[in-house]
């Protein structure tokens, strides 16, 4: 059947067809949907999520998870403001009054260090990545509470905190019709572009696919898998901190639960975008599609005034559908794989069967 050959390719890019379909659907449901301000909102809402997904994609490609990013994000946002604002009400900072640029450098560095720590525990410590990052998710959230003793940190009326807003909400480029896009959106798109180039065109990216695809073969090919895994966690931690800077700029006041629950969205976007949780498979561009689709649906359902409970149900359904599509990819590839597998088994059995 010739059409079967095109099925995997179609399924790989299905996300974009779905995205267009979803946009058309919402456009018919609400005349507020296809407006510049609404589309800007969708992109703005996608920015922080997107930054986290870029980092997560690197980790997932190697066949690992990073569940800790939302806590790294929260802690970074909070710490960043906390270091620069006065200790008294209503700001509730540390009273250190750090230069905001220094503070931002500090949180980015902290994110990278957290990532390196996680990567080290997993590689040197031979610990399970899921559990290590789950533990870090809790530990970092706990650390936030400790720093602030439960108070929200407020940078709203404190001029030096403006540096945060410059990333989070300042306009970057003005596009015809769409209007002024925030710096955050431009930064997110740029990060996806960089991520794409690294994954597709740098030896580093090849190494990650190799590690996720067949670790034993990757190591036997001279790839230092442990080092690469530490590096992707550093990237993920760094980007989580960057996302924290971005989010702090949007919300101005940081509660201790900032970023909580993000991880579900991050995983959902990656999976919907075709990133395999088994590692070795998926494209950065697909992950971007996943991010856009999630925030489009979120916004669209809001416009339609669908109950918040239903929104969660629908998001869950989308994840299931994405997994279903992913499973079909494997199935449609199966005939091809089978021929190869038979051929190799045949050769093995006939000449020097290892079982003989």
């Amino acid at each position: 059947m010739p059409w079967r050959r095109h099925v995997p390719g179609l399924l790989d890019n299905l996300i974009w067809f779905i995205l267009v379909g979803v946009i058309l659907f919402f456009a018919t449901q609400s005349d507020k949907f296809l407006t510049p301000i609404n589309l800007r909102n969708i992109l703005a809402a996608a920015a922080v999520l997107g930054v986290l997904v870029v980092g997560q994609t690197f980790v997932l490609i190697t066949g690992n998870f990073d569940l800790s990013t939302e806590s790294t994000l929260g802690l970074s946002a909070l710490l960043g403001l906390w270091l620069i604002v006065p200790a008294v009400a209503p700001t509730w900072g540390a009273g250190l009054l750090w230069n905001p640029f220094v503070s931002i450098a500090a949180i980015l560095l902290m994110g990278a260090i957290i990532g390196w720590l996680i990567g080290s525990l997993i590689t040197y410590g031979r610990m399970n990545n899921f559990i290590v990052t789950l533990a870090m998710l809790l530990i970092l959230r706990g650390a936030m509470l400790r720093f602030t003793e439960g108070n929200a940190v407020n940078g709203l009326n404190f001029p030096p905190a403006q540096v945060f807003y410059s990333l989070g909400s300042a306009p970057a480029v003005t596009l015809p019709w769409l209007g002024k896009l925030p710096v955050a959106v431009a930064a997110m798109l740029l990060l996806f572009l960089i991520g794409y180039v690294i994954l597709e065109h740098r030896p580093f990216g090849r190494d990650l696919y190799a590690i996720g695809g067949n670790r034993a073969a990757a190591v036997a090919s001279g790839i230092d898998a442990d080092k690469r895994i530490r590096q992707v966690y550093v990237l993920s931690g760094f980007l989580a901190a960057f996302g924290g800077w971005m989010l702090a700029g949007r919300v101005a006041s940081v509660q201790v639960d900032l970023g909580e629950g993000y991880i579900f969205q991050v995983m959902a976007a990656a999976v919907i975008g075709g990133i395999s949780l088994n590692g070795g498979r998926g494209k950065m561009i697909g992950a971007l599609g996943g991010v856009l689709l999630l925030s489009t649906i979120d916004r669209g359902l809001n416009l339609m005034q669908v109950s918040v409970f239903w929104i969660q149900v629908i998001q869950g359904l989308i994840i299931l559908i994405a997994m279903f599509i992913d499973a079909q990819k494997v199935r449609f590839r199966a005939p091809v794989v089978d021929t190869g597998a038979t051929a190799t088994t045949a050769g093995t059995a006939a000449s020097t069967a290892p079982a003989d």
């Binding site: 030896p203 695809g213 067949n214 036997a220 090919s221 001279g222 050769g347 006939a350 000449s351 069967a353």
Partner: protein, 526 residues
Amino acid sequence: MGEPVATPSEIVRLDHVVKRFGGITAVNDVSFAVATGEIHAVVGENGAGKSTIMKMLAGVHLPDAGTLLLRGDPVVISDPLDARRRGISIVFQELNLFPHLSVAGNVFANRELSGAGRLLDERRMVAETRHILDEMGVELDPRTKVGKLAVGEKQLVEIARALQQESDIVIMDEPNSALNAAESERLFDLLRRLRDRGITIIYVSHRLEEVFAIADRITVIRDGRYQWTRPIAETTIPDVIAAMIGRRLEETFPDRQPVDPAARVVLEVRGLTCPPTVGPIDFAVRSGEIVGFAGLEGSGIDETLHVLFGLGKPTGGDVVYRGQEGGRPTSPFDAIRQGFALIPANRREEGLMTGWSIRRNASLCVLDDLLDRVGLIDRTLERNLADGYVRQLSVTTDSIDKRVVNLSGGNQQKVVVAKWLATEPTVLILNDPTRGVDIGAKSEIYALCDRLARGGMALLFTSSEIEETLGVCDRVLVFYKGRIIRSIARGEASKADVMHWVAGGVIPEVVEVEVAQELDPRLPTA
């Protein structure tokens, strides 16, 4: 090729059985019979088709032609469960046990006894397992976790499982590959007692000393074809070896010029030790030389190659690489940088990214040399690299973007070779490079080895087929229990000689004597 020996009470008969995989015929028109209550050995070289035959009996494969008869009736054994229902159990060489379950849990796996309220009746399973083990004369606590047992004990658990299922045909597939002498003797003892109880045992092996110690009759398979079946008393080890080797489809080995004795020594190994399997060993390889390793599984060859490639950690000794002391590679990355390349034995697990294209596989080890000015992988350079090797090695494919999983075994192996040649190694290690490769591609690989050596590369070569090692190499080092016990120059020894040496230097005459005296249990089985 005579007709099988007729016996009054056949329990199993193969009648013109054929099994093909793809274009290759693994089992070709095989007919023979196994008598009720005998220990029937099936021997043959690696790849002769022994395991495939057993897998047909165990319901893993269906014959493409011919008939299996069980107790005189033609049967179709559709799957392993069906085989078990018909009283056939197979003890695979790669043990199929659950390490986290107890002995009893394994014996009753998938056939658990349940008591009141459909809960598992642990006590009854333990009691019955104990009963079976007692009958076997085995002292083993049924509650021990199988993961904690020695290999020999695990094998006993597998047999207990077969007995619990009341199998009257037990197939042992290379049961001794991992057993020590005492364990082997215990196993033999048990097999004899089972036979005396009327259980038929089909014993697959290529270790002839063992077979002569235990079997009643012996069937020889060669190149997928039946040779003969004889009572053990009417044959000898040299007979069997002759039948196993036979006159095979000649693979063409290239002629080798003598290695220039003045050629530079590129690799010298001194006292390399990697317990418990290797060493200390010493050898040296000159530029342009092909050095072969011959030995049985467990003789330390795999481990030696791994250590040289930085995949294993030796405890002692030196590797002198290109005259540089202390160059013992610490990781594959390091080994590659020092100029080593390893073509691994299991190409699908370690050699290739099977889901990747030829292009991406070929370039994986040398990506850093294929960058353009801004540091990105230059697609043109990458394509040229892959194209060049596809042509040089005549890989049969319509495109370098084809996924390697869709290539034949021989072409897959060529992609592995391409990947490593791309690193321009000084020392190329080939671990069983022709496994799962058709004859044509085999000859190409031999010719390639010759060509590379002529170009000055040093090659370390090992194969599961001894005549291949003899045919390709300038010098063959015989490994036995982690030591190099002999060095043979090209043409100096026959395959039969080497087969004896790899088994520990036991010569046929000696074995015959020992067989007569109920085989010495200390005979090497390594």
